[in-house]
Symmetry: C2
Subunit: 179 residues, 2 copies
DNA sequence: CACATACTTCACAAATGTGTGAAAGATGTG
DNA sequence: CACATCTTTCACACATTTGTGAAGTATGTG
C-alpha cells in the first residue's frame, strides 16, 4: 500500500525531472534512468533493477545506460562471480561531470563561431557579430570552469551549514525550555 | 560567381552553427534563422528576406521567428508605411539573453530537484542526493548570474584590447623601422 | 473599394526518433 | 557441456516532429 504509494511518488518525480532533462536535449529514456538512479535509494543498479523499477523493457535500458555511461554520468562496475553489470551513479561529482559535457558543447559553439569569423571575415558586420559571440562564449567557458572548480569547497560549506542548522534545531527541541 | 560563393560559405556556416544550437535543444528552423541573422551582414530582416536568404518556405520562417521573438532573441519592429514586420537581432546583449533562457531552464531544474527532496524526504539516500543536486543548481545559477552581470564590462575590455592590438599592428607596419 | 503584396494558419507527407518483442549472445551453475 | 539467467542487438510498429503547399488573413495602394 504505502510501498506502492511511495513508488508512485518516485515515478512521478522521475517523469517530472526527466522532462527537464529532455528539454536540455537528453533523450527520454536516458533521462528517466538518470532521474531514477538519482532519486531512488539504492546506490547501484543492475540493468534488470532499472527495467523493473521504471517498468520498461530491458532493451530500452540497454540503450539508455550506454548513453549515460558514455557521458560519464553512470559508471559500469562488475562484482566478481556475478553475471550482471552494476551501474553506479557516482554522485560525488555527478553534476560537475554533467557540466563537463555542457562545457564541451560550449566549446563546440566557440569553435563554430570562430570558424565563422574566419570564413566570413571580421571586418563585415556579420563577422563582427560572430567575433563578439566567440568572445562571449570564451568568457562563459572560463567563468563556468572557474565556478566548477569552486564547487567542491562550496558544497562542503553548504553541507556543513545545513548540518549545523539541523543540529541546532534538534538541540532546541528537547531542551529549549528557558525562553 | 564570388557572390554565389559567398552565399554558399554563409549558408554552410549557418548549418554548422545551427547544428550546435540544435544540440542545445533549439528546433532546426529557429536555429537556422538565428544563425543567419547573426552571420549575414544586414541588421534587420523581413520575413521574406529570411525565407529567400535561407531558401525555405515563408511558412517555416513564420514559425521560427515566433519562437525566437518569444525567447527575446529577435525583436519585431514595424517601419511606418510598410507592410512587413522587421526582425532585428539586438546584438548588444543577444548572448546575455540567450543565457537568460538557459538560466530559466536551470531554475526549472532546481524546482524539480527541490520538489523531489520534499516528496521523497531528505533523510533517505535518494532525497539526500536530490538535496545536493538542488544545492549545485542553486550555486550554478548564482555563479552564472554573476558572470552575466560582469559580461558587458568584460566585453568592452576585450574589444578595447583588440582595438589596441590592431592599431598597434597597423602603426607598426608603415613606421616600424627603428626595431 | 477592388487589388496586390506579405505573412500566417492549417492539413498533410516525409523524416526522424522511440521503445517493444523476439532472437542471439554472454556468463556463471550443476 | 547442457542449462539457466541476464543482457544486448535487431527489425518493426508507433509516435512525434518538421517543413511544405494551399488557403486564408491583414494591410497598404491606386
Amino acid at each position: 500500500m504505502t510501498e506502492d504509494d511511495d513508488r508512485m511518488v518516485l515515478l512521478r518525480f522521475v517523469e517530472r525531472f526527466a522532462l527537464v532533462l529532455r528539454e536540455s536535449g537528453m533523450p527520454p529514456m536516458p533521462a528517466r534512468v538518470l532521474a531514477y538512479a538519482l532519486a531512488d535509494d539504492a546506490d547501484r543498479y543492475t540493468a534488470g533493477d532499472l527495467a523493473r523499477g521504471l517498468d520498461v523493457s530491458p532493451a530500452a535500458i540497454s540503450g539508455a545506460v550506454r548513453l549515460l555511461v558514455s557521458l560519464r554520468l553512470l559508471s559500469r562496475e562488475r562484482e566478481p562471480g556475478t553475471r550482471s553489470d552494476l551501474y553506479v551513479l557516482d554522485d560525488r561529482d555527478l553534476w560537475s561531470r554533467f557540466m563537463g559535457t555542457e562545457l564541451a558543447t560550449l566549446e563546440r559553439f566557440e569553435e563554430a563561431a570562430a570558424s565563422g569569423v574566419e570564413v566570413l571575415g571580421a571586418h563585415r558586420p556579420g563577422g563582427r557579430r560572430l567575433a563578439e559571440t566567440r568572445d562571449f562564449l570564451a568568457f562563459l567557458r572560463e567563468e563556468l570552469t572557474a565556478a566548477l572548480a569552486r564547487w567542491p569547497a562550496e558544497r562542503d560549506r553548504r553541507a556543513a551549514a545545513r548540518a549545523a542548522e539541523s543540529s541546532r534545531a534538534t538541540a532546541r527541541r528537547p531542551a529549549g525550555q528557558k525562553g
